[in-house]
Amino acid sequence: MKDRLPGGISIMKQLLTGNEAAAEAAIQAGCRYYYGYPITPQNELINYMSTRMPEVGGAFIQAESEIAAISMVHGSAAAGGRAMTSSSSPGISLKQEGISYLAGSELPCVIVNIQRGGPGLGDISASQADYFQAVKGGGHGDYHTIVLAPCSVQEMADLVYDAFDLADKYRNPVIILGDAQVGQLMEPVEFHKKPKKNLPAKSWALTGAEGRKKNVIKSFYPVKGQLEEFNAHLQRKYRTIEEHEVRYEAINIHKADVILVAYGTSARICKEVVKKSQQYKFKVGMVRPVTLWPFPKEIIRKVSERVECILTVEMSAGQMVEDVKLAVEGRCPVHFYGRTGGGVPTSLEIIRKIVEIVPDNRAANTLLQLAAVK
């Protein structure tokens, strides 16, 4: 059977929401244990799982709470399975207890956060205000989760595949940090990745202690010195991840006068600004972090040495901009433009912000022309 139509369009493509794509990718990555709790705007994910998981002989439970769901993930991961849960911002706050225990117990799992506005109950529209919570730990203790930020439905599927491999490779929870836009928009998506081979065997899993030393899954080290030793081991693991797993997309960074830094939905809008600027003398480039932790600080440091300034665009009051500043270390000015509470920056707003931060007639003239381009 031909798998391509004339023009090279794959017939394998399906039209799905980002939430559904995340669920299907998880199934195809070998996830057989999914525990969820309803919350908007991630409901398509739990709904999809409820019919799809039994088809492949896996376990689907709508738990009594987000805390129960992450605890069930804890159990299935401890038993050696590929397990996942998903939620949105207020529900992710509830899961933080479990995420800290999973990180402390070095259990692999995938947690999807389809962010909505906060603080508190906030609203149900797209937001990127959980950046700090996701990349700085979120729960208690010195730990990191790997954080992947998709900006399209296809990338959602691809990153969910990779999330399970990364989780198993490093025995670490992985967070998919989406938002209501990425979770609910529909785009064509193709499921083509295969789970990685050569991942380490799960010899630590609970299988029964006959004829071997018993396996204990714990994050408790009451004897003085043990915890410090364990934490040093965690930190060594995190340095290895920072060394090997940084991902980003760089667009037109070599000729750029100004660099935009944005991820997820904000990055889609910034891309439009970058595209518009290509026909003019004054150039805008972009770095889109795909891994928010580990953060792509090296590339941002490099571009900061030759651009006039950097503009970070987020759907928050300014969170990732702190990591950008840490990477730049004062080499160039770092500016911020953000919207909160369901506000999504427009390309015109971003261009106006660039005009404001670049006190240069040449730039201003070009950019005002740009702004006029609809």
Binding site: G58, A63, G75, A78
Partner: protein, 258 residues
């Protein structure tokens, strides 16, 4: 090992003694659980232990079995997650009344609804012992504790009523009634569905001595005098211990995991 000491094969003997206070009843329950394991000859290969937080939560560490130490109150959903991932395992939760009925109470309620095929053994000592003696979900009405200086204003949790109407297994026993406790635990382990054993046990250091007991033996003798055995009753009175067993055994399995 002979027949009487064969239960020790389930323990990590090199880790003994336990950290529990002199006179604590937890060791009695721990030993009885091992005896029940031994009598049923549970395979080490197919048995795992999950514990929560608190004095009772320390139990899992003393078993020579694969185990998980969970967050406070989360032992039951973690155990369910293990069971869903590997249906062949006997999954046993061992924790206290604060962990299972207080902070974890909502999980208990819904595990009963799901009737997941796991066994929960609850050390019910009527107090938060590890933290010094605060009121717990099984503390009797009127009892003075560190956080109820004027006496407990609340009613203790009536756990049996949660189980009665949901076709799950519930038994109440005490650290004095050793043979009864062993029987309850063995039946719970064999039950195909959600089973719960509430083992009344004494905390002399952080509860009993404040209530006027001179030593833990006095507390044990109180169990002997106060509780009457009434197995397979419809309902247990306050001064009764026994087994309430559903007629229908329905081990919940979400889907086949073959």
């Amino acid at each position: 090992m002979n027949k009487d000491t064969n239960f020790k094969r389930y323990l990590k003997l090199d880790l003994l003694p336990t950290p529990w206070c002199p006179g604590c009843g937890n060791g009695i329950v721990l030993k009885t659980i091992c005896q029940a394991f031994d009598e049923l000859n549970l395979p080490k290969n197919g048995t795992v232990v999950v514990s929560g937080i608190g004095c009772a939560g320390r139990s899992a560490g003393y078993f020579d079995l694969d185990s998980v130490h969970t967050a406070h109150g989360r032992a039951i959903p973690v155990a369910e997650g293990i069971k869903y991932a590997n249906d062949a395992l006997n999954v046993v939760v061992i924790s206290g009344d604060g962990d299972l009925l207080g902070i974890g109470g909502n999980h208990l309620l819904h595990a009963i609804r799901r009737n997941t095929n796991i066994t929960v053994i609850c050390y019910a000592n009527e107090i938060y012992g590890m933290t010094g003696g605060q009121v717990s979900p099984t503390t009797p009405h009127g009892t003075k504790t560190l956080t109820t200086p004027n006496g407990n204003q609340d009613q203790p949790a009536d756990v049996q009523s949660l189980f009665k109407h949901h076709n799950c297994y519930y038994a109440r026993t005490t650290a004095y009634h050793l043979n009864h406790m062993k029987k309850c635990i063995m039946e719970a382990l064999e039950f195909k569905g959600f089973s719960f054993v509430e083992a009344r046990t004494m905390c002399i250091v952080n509860n009993g001595r404040r209530l006027g007991y001179k030593n833990s033996n006095e507390m044990l003798l109180h169990y002997k005098e106060f509780y009457k055995v009434n197995d397979y009753a419809e309902e247990l009175a306050q001064n009764e211990i026994g087994i309430i067993k559903s007629v229908v055994e329905t081990g919940f399995k979400p889907v086949s995991t073959d």
